[in-house]
Amino acid sequence: MASSEEQPESRPPVLLLRMVAPAYDDAVSAKFHVLRPWESPLPRDQFLAAHAGSVRALLISSLVTLDDATLDALPRLGCVVTTSSGVNHIDLAACARRGIAVANAGTVFSADAADYAVGLLIDVLRRVSTSDRYVRRGLWPVKGDYPLGFKLGGKRVGIVGLGSIGSETAKRLVAFGCTILYYSRKNKPSVPYKYFPNVCDLAAESDILIVSCALTSETHHIINKDVMTALGKEGIIVNVGRGPLVDEAELVRRLMQGELGGAGLDVFENEPAVPKELFLMDNVVLTPHRAIFTSESLADLGQLLVANLEAFFSNRPLLTPVNHNDL
């Protein structure tokens, strides 16, 4: 930007490796000297070498895989801030070995994701999107009342993954009169909900499953055909985690054959591809991976990114540190 070329740069440099959302770039640029390798005529490794001596902070999104090789090129790096809550794109052990502190988005998006999970669930049970289409097609005066939906109150909701999003979702659904059950890697004795050490057992006692865990090698297809069988043919699945948490082909097959009650899906295995069979169904709600994308949360995250970077450069603890050992 013109002003930063005119005066000597006194703001600490923050390196990007790939673009981040303009909202985040703008927030960080207001307080820091942002280095964007793609804007330079130098090839990337020369750009990094030229700045290696001064770069202590790195800002990335989940599209950047941060591995040993990249860390080798940045010997003075002391802090990595990611715009995501998930951190499986970051080699945390490598960062820990080098004394690099890592900060993520913390719980900035949790309320939005929980709101969306509840919204999707009510939509599936009460046929909101389907009956909205019915009204807009002028069918109400022609075909009469829309078929009945299903009550939410009193239903047993199994939360798969009781992290920040799972907890926020549970807290909301309690107010609707739902009974909350959960699966998590470890029992959480301080929460008032019944714990299940495996997802099949959870599904067997649930009417509804809400998938809100992180995607790791262990959780790939955690919602598989056994879980769907245990859930039963009237069961509902809501996924606001990641597409690969659910065996999508099996899900589609069961929905087509009436072996599952319905689904609310914000994520898919091969986004933006969505199995076309789902488009014909009235007991399914499909959204394009938007559970956390509100203007308010983006603004909140912009502020959090800046706050974490400011903390680092003032030698204060990060606001939302990720501990390698927590995971």
Partner: protein
């Protein structure tokens, strides 16, 4: 759904109702007094209600006759009709009541009584019952679901995916956060309170307008609907429809709610000045709306069909299998109580 234990909810005794209602079940043998009860069913009810009425009583189906022949139909059967079961579309207005000289009881398949001429019933000493409490949860759930659907554009996003736009055009846009937004509720009765309880779990501050302040709640009271609208983000209509509350949401209220405000109507269509609503939305003076009810159901203003900031559902507030069965059981239980001279379960008159 897997079977869950059904609890008969405790009812307060604030109204003059049977404090220990024996729940009606379809397993009980109909008493002889029911068999001779002529019941006029004004609307095509769900099959359970219709079948039970048909099994137990002498059923007359008004909706099978076109409206222009209703007078004739009623005259032909007036001697036999002692009970009327109506809903939020076809109730018991003065003309209907006048046409039924043997009418003893109106059992409404709804909690709202705007379609029942209560003054006329009072005059004729006709008993009136409705279906409170059993539908409170469903209506409150829908109100919150509609508010989230509007703020987060869930229906639009679903359309975006089904049309192939996610592939062709890329990401759908940012939407507006629901949690933490101030909710303004018009009417803090059973349904209004149930909505407030749910919204609190989303950290939404609650304010309300009511005929009188409710000091037993911690919610912020406004003595005018315009002030309430000016001070909330999402305005939800949850009061009864009476002469006073017709068009309670008018142009002034909508302008106060404003270009970022969202109106949710799960009350009755006539609560909102629909023509003004359409222009407020089209002109951007109102941010969005979610409507379960309309002034002339099943007709919905077509100008709304192309708007992405509205959600339109066809009067489904209590439309679940579970609740409609409970409502039907209440109607049947009230009729049986009346036929056997026992206290009514949920009397209004």
């Amino acid at each position: 759904m897997k079977p869950t234990k059904c609890r008969v909810e405790e009812r307060g005794t604030e109204d003059d109702r049977n404090p220990n209602p024996k729940p009606f079940t379809s397993l009980t043998t109909p008493p002889p007094a029911m068999e001779s009860l002529g019941v006029l069913l004004t609307f095509p009810a769900n099959s359970y209600l219709e079948e039970e009425l048909n099994k137990r009583c002498k059923l007359f189906r008004l909706w099978e006759t076109p409206p222009e022949n209703w007078r004739q139909f009623l005259r032909a059967n007036a001697g036999s009709i002692r009970a009327l079961v109506g809903n939020s579309t076809v109730g018991a207005d003065a003309e209907m009541i006048d046409a039924l000289p043997a009418l003893e009881i109106v059992a409404s398949f709804s909690v709202g009584l705007d379609k029942v001429d209560l003054a006329k019933c009072r005059e004729r000493r006709i008993r009136v019952t409705n279906t409170p409490d059993v539908l409170t949860d469903d209506v409150a759930d829908l109100a919150i679901g509609l508010a989230i659907a509007t703020m987060r554009r869930i229906c639009e996003a679903d359309r975006y995916v089904r049309s192939g736009a996610w592939n062709a055009k890329g990401d759908y846009k940012l939407t507006s956060k629901f949690s933490g937004k101030t909710i303004g509720i018009i009417g803090l009765g059973r349904i209004g309170l149930a909505i407030a309880k749910r919204a609190e779990a989303f950290d939404c501050p609650i304010s309300y307008y009511s005929r009188s302040e409710k000091p037993q709640t911690n919610y912020k009271y406004y003595s005018s609907v315009v002030d309430l609208a000016a001070n909330c983000h999402i305005l939800i209509v949850a009061c009864a429809l009476t002469e006073e509350t017709r068009h309670i949401v008018n142009r002034e209220v909508m302008d106060a709610l404003g270009p970022k405000g969202v109106l949710v109507n799960i009350g009755r269509g006539p609560h909102v000045d629909e023509a003004e609503l359409v222009s407020a939305l089209i002109e951007g003076r109102l941010g969005g709306a979610a409507l379960d009810v309309f002034e002339h159901e099943p007709h919905v203003p077509e100008q709304l069909f192309g708007l992405e900031n509205v959600v339109l559902v066809p009067h489904v507030g209590s439309a679940t299998w579970e609740t409609r069965k409970e409502m039907a059981d209440l109607v049947l239980g009230n009729l049986e109580a009346h036929a056997t001279n026992k206290p009514l379960l949920t009397p209004v008159l």
